[in-house]
Amino acid sequence: MGAPEVEAMEPARIMTPPADDVLLETRGLTKRFGGLIAVSDLDLDVRRGEISSLIGPNGAGKTTVFNVVTGIYRPDAGEVRLGGEGIGGWKPHRIVARGIARTFQNIRLFPEMTCLENVMAGRHCRLAAGFWTALLHAPGQRREERQAVDFCHGLLERVGLERFANELAKNIAYGSQRMLEIARALATRPRLLVLDEPSSGLNPRETEELIGFLRELSAEGLTLLIIEHDMNVVMGISDWITVMDEGRKIAEGTPEEIYHNPLVIEAYLGREDADEEGD
């Protein structure tokens, strides 16, 4: 981290940050589903240590971007680079190992496993033990497992779920499940945490807590990329906002700039009805 990386890919444009500052970048990213172009020629930059947001009306292609970046989908064209290294089309588990962790819009936990085990699952990619040491329950594997358990208890404590450590994930409240999903993502020791609508379904108090927690993580140096519908959250938390509409980037800038950008206002106002239906 922090080492000088590839030079800028193209002549500097206004508001394009220097490349060594960028943790995640996509260039010309395109994803099609049959005849539908979900994401079209997208250039996205996520700078180190910042909280970046991806916003746009429903169906703008935000979640598709997330799925391509995290390897759930293969890109049809374009590049995805993490810290200068091309990761487009990699298998999801390799991308996680390189440092991108994610959460889902509709929480996807392992419901029949305990909260602790859910977080332990996130730890999986950092464990060195192999098949034979696990089969024989060898001392090295036991030590590593113990360390992982301690680490994950620590994470549960951080998100305020320690008392549910042995509770099945399906039994805890919705807001807690969301925090558990974030804890599981954090257990992978990510460089970049990608959150798909983290505040959806949370009440105002829980949203407040979530924002506080995300700020804390950011202050510790974690880079975040967030899809969010709640404009109060987006405007309040983001350092940088990218706006998508119909698969394309229509604007990017600071919250201030986006707030006053006529294109963005048009995209949203023009679709006010659809947006309301969607929510």
Binding site: R108, G122, A129, L136, Q141
Partner: protein, 331 residues
């Protein structure tokens, strides 16, 4: 490892003590017939354990498990009768052969889900059985199978040839398998398997190599079935394609479902039900299947998770801090 940890690790083994004692004392009271019944109970337990890795732990529908069992049995039969390789040496060889076969046939289809995988594995099972009937290169003896398989020789002069010997052999193998499988279940591998069963997409996004762990489960399950095939071949002294029908695969499936998916004690209960049931109801052979069907229906209604379901959530974790939760509050 502190003495405290040692104490915590014990209950896992102690809970098997009554079972081990029962199996050790059983031969004192049993005649050859009862020992043979217990032998087949053991074979079915091993087969149930092997399928449980695939079906129970990972949730993959493998309906061709008898095929892997057959590969193990025929590997033993052919290598022993043609080249005189000792049976015990052939245990790992049969395991490897079945595992390798599973790897080769399953890797192209491992991405299939649910019922699609089920159909394909039925196909594998049938291909193996019909392949054996067709007597490729004159190796498998067609419908008659391979005859004249040796008894296992532990040491010069120490031959396993009676019911007691085979009873002890199979249950030692079962015990070893249970030890290994319990370790796996508690490790990151067991966790990864269960994560895939619960939510494949989430498992991927959490950093688990889904394809790799599915294949591992298949190869391990097939290898264990291969071991069962080895012991079976040696006990029967003859193997034929009729022992590895689709009905056998269905029986293994029932063992795992009756006992409880992913539960090792459940597999033992399920294997007991499947292997002892026909013996108990020998007198009513005509109505056996009728009753069996009724039991299955009752099971699905009253205990859909199995007789002894896996309580994965409360598996002991090593070195859990004392304040971990209500269940461990006193630790």
């Amino acid at each position: 490892m502190t003495p405290m940890d040692r104490l915590r690790a014990l209950p896992g083994l102690w809970k098997w003590l009554p079972a081990v004692a029962a199996f050790a004392l059983y031969p004192l009271a049993a005649n050859d017939y009862l020992l043979d019944v217990a032998f087949f109970f053991g074979v079915y337990t091993l087969l149930g354990l092997s399928l449980n890795v695939v079906l129970g732990e990972v949730g993959l529908f493998d309906f061709g498990h008898a095929g892997f069992y057959a590969i193990g049995a025929y590997t033993t039969a052919i290598l022993n009768t043609l080249y005189g390789v000792p049976i015990l040496v052939l245990i790992p060889v049969s395991a490897l052969a079945a595992g390798l076969f599973a790897y080769l046939v399953v890797s192209p289809v491992i991405h299939l889900r649910g019922d699609y995988l089920l159909i394909v594995t039925i196909g594998f099972g049938e291909i193996v059985r019909i392949g054996l009937i067709n007597n490729p290169w004159g190796l498998t003896g067609g419908s008659n199978g391979v005859v004249g398989i040796d008894n296992p020789v532990l040491a010069p002069g120490m031959v396993i040839e009676n019911s007691l010997g085979f009873y002890l052999l199979i249950w030692c193998l079962v015990a070893l398998s249970i030890l290994g499988l319990e370790n796996l279940q508690r490790s990151h591998i067991g966790r990864a398997w269960n994560c895939i069963r619960e939510d494949e997409i989430a498992a991927k996004a959490t950093g688990i190599n889904v394809r790799g762990y599915k294949l591992l489960a298949f190869v391990l399950g097939a290898a264990l079935a291969g071991v069962a095939g080895n012991v079976y071949a040696s006990k029967m002294m003859v193997v034929s394609p009729h022992s590895f029908t689709f009905m056998e695969s269905a029986m293994f499936f029932c063992i795992v479902l009756i006992g409880g998916m992913g539960s090792i004690p459940g597999v033992i209960v399920g294997a007991a039900a499947i292997s002892l049931f026909p013996e108990v109801f020998r007198g009513f052979a005509q109505y056996r299947m009728l009753f069996f069907g009724a039991v299955m229906v009752a099971m699905m209604v009253f205990r859909p998770a199995g007789i002894w379901p896996c309580r994965r959530g409360f598996l002991k974790m090593p070195g859990r801090p004392a304040a971990a939760g209500p269940r461990n509050g006193s630790a």
